[in-house]
Amino acid sequence: MIPELGHFSLILALLLALTQSILPLAGAARNIPSWIAVARPAARAQFLFVAIAFGCLAYSFLVNDFSVLNVAQHSFSRLPAVYRFTATWGSHEGSLLLWTFILALWTMAVTLFSRHLPDDMVARVIGVMGLVSCGFLLFMLTTSNPFLRLLPAAMDGSDLNPMLQDPGMVAHPPILYMGYVGFSVAFAFAIAALISGKLDASWARWSRPWTTAAWVFMTLGIMMGSWWAYYELGWGGWWFWDPTENASLMPWLVGTALIHSLAVTEKRGSFKAWTVFLAIAAFSLSLLGTFLVRSGVLSSVHAFATDPARGLFILGFLAVVIGGSLLLFALRASQVGLGGRFALVSRESFLMVNNILLLTATGSVLLGTLYPLFLDALGLGKISVGAPYFNTVFVPLITPLLFLVGVGPLARWKQANVPELAARLKWGLAASVVVALLLPLTLGAWKPMVSLGYLLALWIVVTVAVSVQGRLRAGAGWSANFYGMNFAHLGVAVTVIGVTMVSAYETERNVRMNEGDTITLQDYTFLFKGTTNLDGPNYKAARGTLEVSRNGQPVTTLYPEKRTYTASGMPFTESAINYGFTRDLYTALGEPLDGGAWSVRLFHKPFVVWIWMGAVLMALGGLLAITDRRYRTASRRKGTEE
């Protein structure tokens, strides 16, 4: 009964989404207020029914209704309740329903926080988001119905993939989706601007908080994915340039370019067409990411679907959305108008270079991710593009970008005062260079990449300090936007330090350990005390005990496990990590060997948490920037030129 209710709700949601799109868009085009007014109520009603559908699926999982095919394939009676809930989105169909639910959520938010926008613009924005909802609802109802029945019902489920039975997996997909889907708002604003032909500074001011919010979620989502991969996959890596990781990195890179481009459009009215293009690109990459992950063409940790009909649908949907929006852009971009002029050296030009670098990086990642697929599709062989390619290309592009992160915020709009910049920054630059060159020597061998990493990070810190000091000295008041920006940039510096330290100085040992054996890694001693067997709710485990000490003083005891999950019989490594501000001690059991011995994997990872801490700081900075008062003016003017 409940699954059928959910199914029916999805159908109703589709009808409402159609109403939400067709009437407001037509009404805005023909200036029919009653049709325009349908936008908000239709969106809210759609949200209600998608929420009901989501609730029905979650309910089926929580009560172990194995007559629902999805539940039978992805859950298990002895699965802890929280994981039964997260199993709702642990499958292809379920994650699509989550996507649609989050889209409805964002649309709902737009209906609530758009009082100050002109009605025709709101109608267009909600209408475009409605069209995207239609696509996803149709996709679900035709190829990926989460409510299909399994009759007769299964006795028990096949269990959720053990990799997903983890607190990180509770949070990572919803947060990441908030980001992916959030770019649809920026996209909708861009399409609305193209359709209406009106794109001014107030358009930028309206879209900015929405775009930054999506970016904040995206940053957190990627950070969680990286951290989860680190502790769950058992290899101690935090980024593999895996196609699905790339699928989330690309919209993030373009999203970063977008929030910076929006700043220029709002402040100076320049880059208008470019900003619109970026909004289309960011969301297109979100959709492309969906296609890459859902169609089974990738061999990756995340690959779900194997049904060609699904791949075909998404391909068609992508063609319509991306092709359509680019066509609209080509036809209407010229009407958007040019903005203020700026000098060769100015904040605008620095931001332009910022955008170019980010987009080049995106392009290279896209090439490396899609090239194997193209070759395979053309039958020209199966190849893979590994981490060395991405690292070789990404690092030289990010380096000048990081330099600009420092100098950009200090440059003036329209025309930077180069002598003044040089005067303000020369001591900072000198200090950064000196410290960066000397620091690696204190850590061991001098490595050029370490110096480079530190130089860039210190440069950012120094320039933020100069910038803040300058502002305080000038007596300017509080600005959420200014401090948010600087805080986020500091986050970038923190991440850079984390990446530099871990890449250069991490150490690993794979050894056979008998009970009573010790091994030393850096100045930490690990004593293996054998394993004991224990039973979990839905698994059996061999739990190892490793006593860690340093200079004779006990530090901690770690309990890595090797689990075998009951339902699937799958073996699984549960690593044990001792987190630290300056280093992580990472242990994992390998395989049982003869005589009670085990092969054990041990890592010493310096500063690795800084990578994720930096990402959190970036997100917090973005969040702070959104609270700026300029976005909360309750004016309903149709927009003013600045």
Partner: protein, 152 residues
Amino acid sequence: MKTRHKKLLLVAVALLGLGAVAALVLNAFRSNLVFFLSPTQVVKGEAPRDRAFRVGGLVEKGSLSREADGVTAHFRVTDTAQTLSVTYKGVLPDLFKEGKGVVAEGRLNGGVFFAEQVLAKHDENYMPPEAARALEQAQKAQKTLVAPQGKQ
């Protein structure tokens, strides 16, 4: 400098920059492509000598052995037509099992494949698409033979 000349200079610099980046990217790309081969192709001698490549198939049943140090493993990978000996120093992934699909990346040295990476990171019913294809092709090739050519 006249504005017009300034603009031309800008365009020239931009194109040069773009060209440099493109060269960098394509160069990095070409030198980091990793080809995938089946054991049959490796045995036939199609494997590149100067770079790492991937080989995939099934882990031959009964072929897994470990040395006394506990971390060096030997096994054979097969596509049912030919087998290739693989040596790997490290902890094997959880889903690595005899009779299941595997993909290894490394280099060939004297007829033995020295793996730097062994991949098997999905559920136990999953087989990497490349490995599946290799098996499929090998089985197809066997069916088209008129008489058995003497399998190894």
